[in-house]
């Protein structure tokens, strides 16, 4: 077996120029897949962390009703005893913080013009405890939970532009209370926020939790957002929390970030499909070009194969020899590709290149690639398998040569 392997290994270097060209082709395919896959992986990671740390959190807790029926009145599917629930959740491992939130909507007016807003009421101290990305302000500062004056508000930069207001200006917000009445409150803009997502910035408004509860006339919250030390701990913490929520008077349910991150899932699904498509293209490129090269190799070695068959070499051995040679080329090509792909990845990561903002975003995306071991293994296997498959036709042809004719081959 060792001699057979040696024969296969030496055979692949008989025509060095051709072998080097094949290695370049195979390696190029692997390197290309690693760069594209690494870029996608970096993008997925960035989008995941941006989604979670941008406010979604790792886990959110809702009432079961929140998903079973629409709210008829403000907060009628909200959580009653949220302080007790939050305190219980905080005692778990890996939990960095728990923040109550109220999601509400209504109209905002500057006296001349009105617009719809999507409101979020937060506890600034609890939000800071989640350890999420700091809010990016184009001007002003964050909400102050201890502010005793006028109700403070943060608004998105798109809404600020639409309402033609700046920090220090006032707005009136109107919303339906939990009793179904219309209620309003004057707010002072203390900050203008740039979330990086234009759609959100055109509608977002944020006030403190007590202010929203006064506006909506309810002590409930919509949900509790849980921040963890690491995203990778989400499943473990969710599994630990679920039983603790079952014993409470109100039926609660927890959702992991992946259940709520619709945009992330759509992007990932689209990009993954594109990547699979690229993989298929590389697979067929390697397959088709290798078949030609291996057929040429077989033709050149016709008399040698005839000699081996004349000496009594089983035809299956000839098939195995050709497939082994192709597989070895695949392995070497994959090694070249993994080295080249990682090297180019390092160079790209140090080049500080930026890409234009993706759809819906306002900030440019850095052109970085991740070095993903599973991608290296997968891409390598892809080209090794495609080369092994490419060798089947030449191998079978070689094994079926008529010995007398092969020996007379010039």
């Amino acid at each position: 077996m060792a001699k057979f392997l040696l024969l296969a290994f030496r055979n692949i270097f008989r025509n060095r120029r051709r072998t080097v060209m094949t290695l370049f082709m195979v390696g190029g395919g692997v390197a290309g897949l690693l760069l594209v896959g690494g870029f996608f992986a970096r993008m997925f990671w960035g989008l995941r962390e941006h989604t979670i740390n941008g406010g979604l959190g790792h886990i959110q807790i809702f009432t079961v009703d929140h998903f079973n029926r629409d709210e008829v009145r403000a907060l009628d599917t909200g959580i009653d005893n949220w302080r007790q629930v939050a305190a219980s959740v905080k005692t778990g491992g890996h939990v960095r913080g728990v923040a109550p939130r109220i999601e509400f909507y209504g109209m905002v007016s500057n006296g001349d013009k009105s617009s719809v807003f999507m409101g979020t009421a937060v506890d600034p101290v609890a939000e800071n405890g989640l350890g999420f990305f700091p809010t990016t302000f184009t001007s002003g500062h964050d909400l102050d939970s201890k502010s005793g004056g006028e109700v403070e508000a943060l608004i998105g930069k798109g809404l600020a532009k639409s309402m033609n207001v700046k920090v220090g200006d006032g707005l009136t917000i109107l919303s339906m209370t939990s009793d179904g009445a219309l209620n309003g409150v004057d707010v002072e803009i203390v900050g203008i926020v740039d979330s990086g997502i234009a759609e959100m910035d055109a509608r977002s408004l944020r006030i403190t939790l007590p202010a929203a509860q006064r506006l909506l006339q309810s002590d409930r919250v919509t949900n509790l957002v849980v921040g963890l030390d690491k995203t990778e701990n989400t499943d473990q913490v969710a599994a630990e929390l679920a039983p603790r929520l079952r014993g409470l008077p109100q039926q609660l349910v927890l959702k992991k970030w992946i259940d709520l991150a619709t945009y992330y899932k759509q992007v990932r699904s689209l990009m993954s499909t594109i990547f699979v498509f690229l993989g298929v293209i590389v697979f067929f490129m390697v397959l088709m070009s290798s078949v030609n090269t291996l057929l040429m190799t077989m033709f050149e070695r016709t008399r040698e194969i005839g000699t081996m068959l004349a000496m009594g070499t089983p035809r299956a051995w000839i098939v195995a020899l050709f497939m082994l040679e192709a597989t070895l080329i695949g392995i070497l090509g994959a090694l070249v590709g993994v080295l080249a792909g990682n090297l180019l990845g390092v160079l790209l990561n140090h080049s500080n290149l930026n890409l234009p903002p993706p759809p819906g975003f306002t900030v440019p995306m850095s052109f970085e690639v991740l070095h993903v071991p599973s991608l290296m293994v997968g891409s390598s296997l892809l080209v090794i398998v495609s080369l092994a498959l490419a060798s089947i036709l030449p191998a079978i042809r070689a094994s079926r040569l008529r010995i007398a004719e092969a020996l007379a081959h010039v």
């Binding site: 001699k3 057979f4 040696l6 024969l7 030496r10 055979n11 008989r14 008399r303 040698e304 000699t307 081996m308 068959l309 004349a310 000496m311 009594g312 070499t313 089983p314 035809r315 051995w317 010995i403 007398a404 020996l407």
Partner: protein, 242 residues
């Protein structure tokens, strides 16, 4: 002596073009016609004749790398016309050694590895392989060149490696198709002497083809072919060494 090869009224025709056999325009060329030949174990036999006389065809048929159109060939008592491809392959592997006109060594193997090859395909153990390869290379006087690749050997040396490869697995029969055609007279004579010596010393049966009249002086038995027919079968008592 025991009969090793029995060629009984063997013909070999090759179709011309790709016209099916039942088609009126079908035609063929006859490479061998009704040839008969008996070879005993330990013989040193030359098949002589001009180019195109059917020497290679006859050797291919005896060597089980081709099948006759009619007639039958027995090698060591086995009717090769009844063998399946796998059994033909096994017969060649175990009982026949081949020496080719163009040496046909595996270029990426060293001389020793080339000689080792027939033992590899017979799954002989590594220790036994090393021993037999050393013996075979020693018997052709190439022990010192064991680790050289074919491209660093002279034509004569390459053919001696080919002879070592043909005898290393101790076959009953060695077939050599024009083994001296690519050698100068000196190397050709040396090679025939070497094969003759192996024939006498080890009792190996050699059948080789040649159209070089000078080499026939070294042979005890000469079968002459012309246009695919055996026209003479001459035995010279005791052989003649020049």
């Amino acid at each position: 002596m025991d009969e090793l090869v029995n060629v009984e009224a063997v013909s070999r025709r090759f179709p011309l073009d790709n016209i099916p056999a039942h088609h009126p325009a079908h035609s063929f060329v006859s490479a061998l016609s009704d040839a008969s030949l008996r070879v005993s174990a330990g013989e040193f036999l030359a098949i002589a004749g001009p180019s195109g006389s059917g020497k290679t065809t006859l050797l291919n048929l005896i060597g089980c790398i081709d099948k006759p159109t009619s007639g039958r060939i027995l090698v060591d008592g086995v009717d090769t016309s009844k063998l399946k491809p796998g059994s033909m392959s096994a017969l060649r592997r175990e009982k026949i050694g081949f020496v080719f006109q163009t040496f046909n060594l595996i270029p990426v193997f060293t001389a020793a590895e080339n000689v080792e090859y027939p033992l590899l395909i017979q799954s002989v153990g590594s220790r036994e392989r090393r021993k037999r390869v050393a013996e075979a290379l020693d018997s052709v006087g190439l022990s010192a060149r064991a680790n050289q690749r074919p491209d660093l050997l002279s034509g004569g040396e390459r053919q001696r490696v080919a002879v070592a490869r043909a005898i290393v697995h101790r076959p009953a029969l060695v077939l050599a198709d024009e083994p001296t055609a690519n050698l100068d007279t000196h190397n050709a004579t040396q090679l025939i002497d070497l094969m003759h010596g192996l024939n006498r010393r080890l009792g190996l049966t050699f059948i080789f083809s040649t159209h070089d009249a000078r080499l026939l002086e070294h042979t005890e038995r000469i079968v002459r072919l012309t246009d695919g027919e055996v026209i003479s079968d001459t035995t010279i008592q005791g052989g003649s060494r020049g």
